[in-house]
Symmetry: C3
Subunit: 292 residues, 3 copies
Amino acid sequence: VVRPRRDGRAGNRRDVGSSRPAVRYGPVSFLSDYGLEDEFVGIVHRVMAARAPGVPVIDITHQVPVHDVRAGALTLWRAAPWLAPGVILAVVDPGVGTARRAVAVEVASAGAVLVGPDNGLLFPAASSLGAVTAAVELSGSPAVADGRGATFAGRDLFAPACAALAHGCDLGRLGRHIDPDSLVTTAVPVPGIGPDGAVRAEVLWVDRFGNVQLNAGPGDAGHLGSGVDLRAGTDRWTARRAEAYADLAETEIGLVTDSYGLLSVSCRDASAAARTGLAVGDEVWLLPAAGG
Amino acid sequence: VVRPRRDGRAGNRRDVGSSRPAVRYGPVSFLSDYGLEDEFVGIVHRVMAARAPGVPVIDITHQVPVHDVRAGALTLWRAAPWLAPGVILAVVDPGVGTARRAVAVEVASAGAVLVGPDNGLLFPAASSLGAVTAAVELSGSPAVADGRGATFAGRDLFAPACAALAHGCDLGRLGRHIDPDSLVTTAVPVPGIGPDGAVRAEVLWVDRFGNVQLNAGPGDAGHLGSGVDLRAGTDRWTARRAEAYADLAETEIGLVTDSYGLLSVSCRDASAAARTGLAVGDEVWLLPAAGG
Amino acid sequence: VVRPRRDGRAGNRRDVGSSRPAVRYGPVSFLSDYGLEDEFVGIVHRVMAARAPGVPVIDITHQVPVHDVRAGALTLWRAAPWLAPGVILAVVDPGVGTARRAVAVEVASAGAVLVGPDNGLLFPAASSLGAVTAAVELSGSPAVADGRGATFAGRDLFAPACAALAHGCDLGRLGRHIDPDSLVTTAVPVPGIGPDGAVRAEVLWVDRFGNVQLNAGPGDAGHLGSGVDLRAGTDRWTARRAEAYADLAETEIGLVTDSYGLLSVSCRDASAAARTGLAVGDEVWLLPAAGG
């Protein structure tokens, strides 16, 4: 007999008659800059499997560039709508072992708790899921941590905390409550509009396929028409609005609404990043096409 | 008490007394060209975990070269005997968002349903598992899809369809039936035999270890003896038939029957691809060794 | 209702009233040099999912350098304390298909069985977990193996053996008992002390972050003080003992006790391996800093 686990929405997991605490959150989603060359990710999984058997742990990605908190924060922000309800473990943590706080941040309306370092990594995702209803500084008490050293908090502090949360442990048992307003923030940049209607955007992400995600959505560019001039530094391209990558001609540069609802500079069967040289952080101006 | 899930053979999963539909297929095997740098794979997993909790989802590989439908089709074809019974999700989909069909293809004799774009990706694997007994074009109806955009069908269409299938949803509820003969095909090339008994083979795959898989099996080369001349363009090597890589001398080139039952040009503790320069798609002629 | 699986400690998993054998060991931890580009890892997972449904299989890493038995052995040795109790599957196997033995090695005190080739890969991890209480040479009998060829033992021999073990199969049913003292060994090098108190260490590992792990622990270097001269060949650096990477100044080289309890040459937000050129196998001498 197969007994499928139910989704992790808070409250619907009462394990009547069991001495274990109820499973309250779950699955656990896990993002880091640990990479896959070393054993870090596997050991974190193994610690959670021992402490929260039966709770699925889903790898979001572990190839956030090393110590790039902003890239990790933006990845988590993009993914967040699909990760709740549940526990979200994120570790990009150059300050591991120092006075930077380790935190768990609850967004009750989404049934989510985010766990990781308090360095801005969690902030955009948490904010996008709803109001932060509580936050604790993880104490590393023996009940929820292994006191093995100062350099692998994912294994020794965050994984035990996530396992405890997934099995129904109250947030307050993981440490002392802190003011949610004291959490370190990371801003997701917003697009600007010039007096001539030009849109000032920024490149947020270049994906494996070479799509160049901007921080502007179709609503920001609705007044520009179907042909759009893109300017970055001294470079200039004419892009055509399209529904799908394969709607573009082979030599065309397209402006496509991507799967996160943002505008993406894209090509058909080719990397727009390689063709344009655009990279994360670049400023891109969008104007009505001269010939349009 | 551990209640192991049973294997996914159709028919043996009646969840008596549950309001959920029976689990009919499963596990889900998942192959794509999404890579592991971005969050694509993790989000697809998370969508399936929400919609089909308890169904294992096994990553076959996500490093199919970007948009290389043929490479993905051959990988799936090689792996297929180990993936049935179950649901097989495959996404290498340069035409996402266009008129290319999204399909689910059933091979009832193998207890398998393959889900993905109708661009030839699924064909060799499906054919190798048995006769296609039904096929549907996925409609993207709200019951089985999230209508979020045109560029991430893995998340919005295929994952929901796989989750529904894994939990026993009838194929016909996912969309309209289409003629299996209308599916886009991909040919796995067959080896040829010249008048002199020479075998014309093609390189199907170079693996991480540098083994060069040909499309010919030991039966195709049985008349050639234990020494075989290999010719590719103007290059020529003498290879020795061997049972195992480590049976070769260090400088030798071997011809080994690989784990898929095909001949592989291989070296001991070294990459045969690097040593010979052979690459996917190359034509290789096999002849009796001149000195043999 | 969620029925969490219990941890895999031997003896606490009696599946009363089930016709399946009790689950005795589990989860299965899996390390290899298979990489993630090909389908090897996925197929091994799929074989275990079919033969041991419900048993979690956790990937430790699959990016051990190709055929580098020593690197794999050291990775497994580092990870071992977190992998027991359970089954540990490790495959770095250049001699696959030859007379090298395939083995399962039990460390009863840790509730662990290690499965893989008998080429030294398993030895440091097994030894670190406790006394080896039994070892068998896997016979590849039909009950526990698929007789498909000589080149993919992970799929055809090791995965079935692990699945059988995870479900409670007695070690002795997997093959004939062999003398544990006959297992191939791999030595983890020990540091030396020169007459002047200098410590002769060796680089064991460079991780993704560029931390350079030595085979010496803080106890070996306690007499050196907080400033330490490092010498490798003709190169020389002065390192400062620190608790955490971020306690270092940007240009400093640090000597940090890492998460495995060993000394690591490390930098703040930078790769110490890139800065020093140190690589696995290099000899490094540690002396009191000239100015200290």
